[in-house]
């Protein structure tokens, strides 16, 4: 493992705020979110539905639908250049070429009327001056790389001829086509069954190693994070509540929400009547509470939590938490 100090910051997200202007009101989907993606790391973003993790990742590529969405504040610095200030034309060079996305729904993320080859070749030729025949060879190579058997035959298949797992591999091949330095994987395994999930996660890890990529992995599954990531960001109510390297987070979660999430994972060696749950509901994104957003569900909540919003602060080296009364940091390592 490389040491932390030598790592370069590839993507520096500063105070990102994304709102959706709906008929019911303004939805604050991402609220003042800041984080960094280092070169060569896999950064996990975990949170439940509506926590803002997907919108965060889409915002970095400016893929949110405008309207109703709008990135209202912040900076997304990609190798020092603010993505949010780029023109649509410049964005076309960034999408697929600098940052590429692996999508959640392998069944619908491919266009049904074009062959998978055509869809990969299109992505290749968008970012290089490669001839058609050469691009086709490269497409076959990419299919081989993502583990599709008989790629020279499969290249002419249509999406509906492939299984879900195979389609997800094709989507990864498309993401790799422009040779981007950053891959954003938005719930890449959610729609797949468990064995295929493991294969796809292994593939993403392999690609990160062999192709020298940095990966942002968005998931609601802490198990996926544990298997795959180096660092993890926990999101709740459009905010980051905890940020930590993976191992300490599992051993010693700091935020009560993270603690609750971890205790709700069923353990194989324990027999329980009922699974642990975090009581209550996520806050209404149309009317977020003034204080801590987790406070109504938090066992440790005090008066202060209702009134005063905790800010993200460093609790230990490399570990950030947004809580007035976090769990104690254990230093036995």
């Amino acid at each position: 493992m490389e040491s932390q100090n030598t790592l370069k910051v590839l993507l520096d997200v500063k105070n990102l705020t994304t709102r959706f202007f709906t008929d019911d009101g303004i939805v604050l989907a991402v609220d003042n979110v800041s984080f960094q993606l280092m070169e060569g790391e896999i950064l996990g973003i975990v949170g439940e539905s509506g926590s803002g993790k997907s919108v965060t990742s889409m915002s970095t590529m400016r893929l949110i639908p405008i309207p109703p969405g709008e990135i209202t504040e912040g900076q997304v610095l990609l190798k020092g250049r603010d993505v949010l200030k780029c023109s649509e034309k410049e964005m076309q060079d960034i999408r697929g070429n600098e940052i590429a996305m692996i999508f959640q729904e392998p069944m619908t993320a491919l266009n049904p009327v074009y062959t998978i080859g055509a869809q990969i070749i299109e992505a290749i030729r968008q970012h290089s001056k490669m001839g058609k025949a050469k691009a086709r060879e490269r497409a076959i190579d990419l299919l081989k790389l993502v583990g599709i058997p008989a790629p020279e035959k499969r290249v002419d298949d249509y999406p509906h001829q492939l299984s879900g797992g195979m389609r997800q591999r094709v989507i990864i091949a498309i993401a790799l086509a422009g040779n981007p330095s950053i891959l954003i994987a938005d719930e890449p395994t959610t729609a797949l069954d468990v064995t295929i999930q493991a294969q796809i996660l292994r593939l993403i890890r392999e690609i990160k190693e062999t192709q020298n990529k940095s990966v942002m992995l968005i998931t609601h599954d802490l198990g996926v994070i544990a298997q795959t990531c180096d660092r993890v960001i926990v999101m709740y109510g459009a905010e980051i509540v905890e940020q930590s390297p993976v191992r300490p987070l599992y051993k010693n979660p700091l935020h009560p929400y993270t603690e609750g999430l971890l205790s709700s994972i069923p353990k194989m060696d324990e027999d329980v009547e009922r699974l642990n749950v975090i009581e209550g509901m996520v806050p209404n994104p149309l009317a977020l509470p003034a204080g801590c957003r987790f406070c109504s569900r938090c066992k440790k909540a005090q008066e202060r939590c209702k009134a005063e919003k905790p800010t993200l602060r460093e609790a230990a080296p490399g570990r950030l938490v947004a809580c007035h009364y976090p769990c104690e940091v254990q230093t036995d390592e």
Partner: protein, 313 residues
């Protein structure tokens, strides 16, 4: 594929045969026969009517009449229209009546479809790209208004304005381009509305689809995303829609043809029915059935070209 077409054609033939039986029986069940209706307008005696019936074979048993009808139709002998007589003898072969009317109906149908598509697809695309915008809402309101006005009334408004008030176009007729414009416009309104709605709805869904987001994430330009990935998928529902409408147009638009004295197949059929002109009715109805069979088959065939999910099954 070949087997599919063969099956569909066989089923189509059956459809045509059934319509032949139905129409043959229906017109004979209607009060009055061609001889009496013709005689009624000519001040003739009963003996002449009888002689006409005999000559046209209307006194034969019904089964015999039907076999003669089927045999004639299969051999392409459509007989003479009972409507047009010189010295008591029919002089207009049905086939020449139909051939005279067909090009008019075809040209009108094709122009209406093409004109409507040229207006509706861009209109629907703009609406789909900005749903809820003032343009989308305005288009929707205008469409609702048009839909709630009957076609013949739109035709009458057109005549009142374009022909009578502003004297831009003739009130009707056939032959030159000017008299062609109003029937085409009148028919197109309805189709523009339907086609725009379909484009708007279908494209609206596709624009929100995951594969369009994938296309955008590749770094493709908006134009490529919209035209290459969006419209190609919209073509499938649009072709279906055109298919269902084209059948109706190719078999004649009765009101509009009558209103503008643009005599096509629809008008031929209506006048034949009021004259109990059996040979003409019995030829036009199977033609209509055949048009529907062929158009439906053509739509299904176009799916093979447009949608690979059907092709490879």
């Amino acid at each position: 594929m070949g087997q599919f077409i063969g099956k569909r054609l066989l089923r189509g033939l059956l459809t045509i045969f059934v319509t032949m039986v139905v129409v043959f029986l229906l017109i004979r069940m209607a009060p009055g026969d061609p001889a009496s209706i013709l005689a009624g307008s000519m001040d003739t005696d009963e003996a002449f009517v009888e002689s006409l019936r005999e000559e046209w074979g209307l006194d034969e048993p019904i089964l015999k009449q039907f076999t003669v009808y089927v045999k004639n139709l299969v051999t392409g002998n459509l007989g003479y229209s009972y409507q047009y007589l010189t010295h008591g003898k029919p002089n207009q072969p049905v086939i020449s009546l139909i051939l005279q009317r067909l090009p008019r109906t075809f040209i009108l149908a094709a122009s209406v479809i093409i004109f409507s598509i040229l207006i509706a697809i861009p209109l629907g695309t703009i609406c789909a790209m900005k749903p809820g915008s003032w343009f989308d809402n305005l288009t929707f309101s205008i469409q609702m208004t048009i839909t709630s006005i009957p076609n013949f009334y739109i035709g009458m408004i057109l005549i009142a304005l374009l022909a009578v008030k502003w004297k831009l176009l003739p009130t009707g007729g056939y032959g030159d381009f000017n008299s062609f414009i109003m029937p085409m416009l009148c028919l197109s309104f309805r189709y523009i509305v339907t086609f725009t709605r379909t484009t708007r709805t279908e494209l609206g869904q596709i624009l929100n689809s995951d594969y369009l987001r994938t296309a955008k994430a590749k770094g493709l330009s908006r134009t490529v995303v919209l035209f290459k990935h969006g419209l190609r998928n919209v073509l499938i529902p649009i072709v279906t829609m055109i298919g269902t409408r084209l059948g109706g147009l190719l078999t004649g638009a009765v009101y509009v043809e009558t209103l503008f004295r643009y005599y096509g197949v629809g008008e031929l059929l209506i006048s034949a029915i009021s004259a109990r002109d059996y040979p003409t009715i019995q030829a036009v109805i199977p033609y209509i059935a055949a048009v529907f069979v062929i158009v439906n088959l053509a739509v299904d065939m176009s799916y093979f070209a447009l949608d690979p999910r059907i092709r490879k099954k």
